[in-house]
């Protein structure tokens, strides 16, 4: 079985600051990978490089057997990489249903051709909203939502693009315990449908219960990669998190 995502020796610098330094990362289809690391360790930069928001100087990203380097962000979305943003970025002037309509119109149509009629689009928007429990707010604006609902909308919009890989960038930061459980259940449910998930998170209980494998970034370098229980006992990881 070939890997779904293969990040090969990827480096990124901002001026003199090395944000990512020779990152190697392989993600298998259907896997649940947790990605952790202290603030500023380069997690979001890695996501940005995978998704095309930022360009890496060296190294390459292969996805589903194709080279992603040089493709714009929207082209990578068309190929099946979806992400949620660390701070939710809904389209504030569009209703919730229309927020979800965008990836359906621009990604699913682009991939499959205009298979869907207007009615099908509405049905699909409804299904997605139902999946995240926002079906009663289809005609609301994003400003009417609570934090947790905003995160759910963010995930629903990423899912609307029908991705093979979902990268959830801190979708639980600032949420309460029950809300975290909500989002976790949602992510597991998506994974069960066959979507590979990379979870970037600071909340260790969530990461530990979700991940099948854990990778740790510190100062732009990957210092550990393996079974969650082993990784958290790794002396280097402990040193990076707790200091010595």
């Amino acid at each position: 079985m070939t890997a779904l995502l293969h990040v090969n020796n990827l480096s990124k610098r901002f001026g003199g600051f090395v944000a990512l330094d020779g990152i190697e990362l392989v993600v298998e289809p259907g896997e649940r990978l947790g990605l952790i690391g202290p603030n500023g360790s380069g997690k979001s930069t890695l996501v940005n490089c995978i998704c095309g928001t930022e360009r890496n100087e060296s190294g390459s990203v292969h996805f589903d057997g194709q080279l992603l380097d040089g493709l714009a962000a929207h082209q990578r979305t068309h190929r099946g990489v979806a992400r949620s943003f660390q701070l939710p970025r809904p389209f504030p002037s569009l209703t919730l249903a229309d927020n979800l309509r965008i990836p359906l119109l621009y990604t699913v149509h682009a991939r499959l051709g205009p298979l869907r009629s207007a009615g099908d689009l509405d049905t699909r928007c409804g299904e997605l909203l139902k999946m995240v429990g926002l079906e009663n707010k289809a005609r609301h604006m994003p400003r009417d939502l609570t934090q947790v609902e905003m995160r759910k909308l963010e995930l629903a919009r990423a899912m609307a693009a029908e991705p093979k890989l979902l990268i959830a960038d801190e979708s639980m930061a600032g949420l309460s315990h029950s809300e975290i459980d909500d989002i976790l259940a949602l992510l597991v449910q998506l994974n069960e449908r066959g979507i590979t998930v990379i979870l970037i998170e600071h909340i260790m209980s969530a990461v530990m219960s979700f991940s099948q494998r854990l990778a740790v970034l510190v100062s732009g370098k990957k210092i550990a990669d393996g079974k969650p229980a082993d990784v958290v006992r790794d002396p280097e990881v402990v040193r990076a998190y707790l200091g010595q």
Binding site: A73, H74, P90, F91, I102, P103
Partner: protein, 318 residues
């Protein structure tokens, strides 16, 4: 309401105004009406880029002048009927719009606005130094008194009015179609959040280029008949501040999120300016625009359409 029906209704309203003026022989109605229609086209064109995509273009006058000077050039080089000039001006301005978009769309906000303003300055300098189209002296175009279309003889100003009416209907129809299409949704995401738009699969650069091209083309079309209207075209009038300011102010006052906004804004501001020109002086025009703009930014930042929508929502909630 479908597009054909919409076009028919808007055209019928314009035609009714035309018939009124024609039979009562009110020449002034056409002179004033032409300017208002021209501003409907300009405001609608500006709104396609400025309102839908959120990119503020300060260079409207450049595209308008490009249309006008394409006409002057062809008038001297190889005279063609005005509808053909309009098409050629649309192509010229559309291509310049595409080029400008390609060069400047990496800039956002105030930086983009400054770049478009720079385009206007560069183009004006070019025209001022181009002797063939009159340079800084300007160019005269002698307009015939009447023209014969399909057996009817009508005044030339009436003919110009009709042309501008067709353009206005075309511009409004296009804006309306865009607004309800996939393209319109894409434009809205660009206005809201480009990063999130890309992540949702929206090809933002391509969409922005489409917007600058359409917007530029319509501004050029609005400018094409202008030399025939004014009779004497000089750079300072074609590149006039009033075009840049009005094409921003009209959508802002009317409301930028729908095609109705620029229409309402253009009719309101355009009529006010015509009234001011006749009763006080034409110099007072920009003052009116400025004061109204300030008032609207404070009282109704979403324009008249936004204001009415707000009332409507509040009323329904009672």
């Amino acid at each position: 309401m479908n597009t054909a029906k919409f076009s028919l209704i808007t055209f019928a309203i314009g035609a009714a105004v035309f018939a009124y003026g024609h039979w009562l022989e009110i020449g002034y109605l056409f002179f004033a009406g032409y300017v208002i229609l021209q501003f409907i086209v300009l405001a609608t064109a500006w709104n396609i880029l400025g309102g839908y995509c959120g990119y503020v273009n300060f260079g409207s006058a450049a595209f308008f002048a490009l249309g006008a000077y394409s006409s002057v050039f062809l008038h001297k080089f190889y005279p063609l009927p005005i509808p053909a000039l309009i098409v050629i001006s649309a192509v010229v301005s559309g291509v310049v719009g595409l080029g400008m978009g390609y060069l400047t769309l990496r800039l956002r906000g105030a930086f983009f606005a400054i770049a478009t303003l720079a385009l206007a300055v560069v183009l004006q300098t070019l025209i001022v130094n181009w002797d063939y189209v009159g340079g800084s002296r300007g160019a005269y175009i002698i307009r015939p008194e009447t023209i014969e279309i399909a057996g009817f003889t009508i005044g030339f100003i009436e003919y110009l009015f009709l042309l501008m009416l067709v353009l206005a209907v075309l511009a409004l129809g296009t804006a309306r179609v865009i607004e309800r299409s996939q393209l319109g949704f894409g434009f809205a995401t660009i206005r809201d959040d480009e990063l999130a738009a890309e992540a949702s699969g929206v090809p933002t650069l391509r969409l922005k280029l489409i917007a600058t091209t359409i917007s530029g083309a319509f501004m050029g079309m609005a400018g094409a008949p202008f030399p025939y209207y004014i009779g004497y075209l000089q750079p300072s009038s074609a590149f006039g501040l009033e075009y840049a300011v009005n094409s921003i102010a009209m959508p802002m006052i009317g409301g930028t999120t729908s095609w109705i906004g620029p229409l309402v804004g253009a009719i309101l501001l355009g009529s006010l300016q015509q009234i001011a020109t006749v009763t006080i002086s034409s110099a007072v025009n920009l003052l009116i625009v400025g004061l109204l703009l300030i008032a609207f930014v404070i009282i109704a930042p979403n324009g008249l359409v936004g204001l009415v929508e707000g009332w409507w929502r509040a009323w329904r909630r009672r």
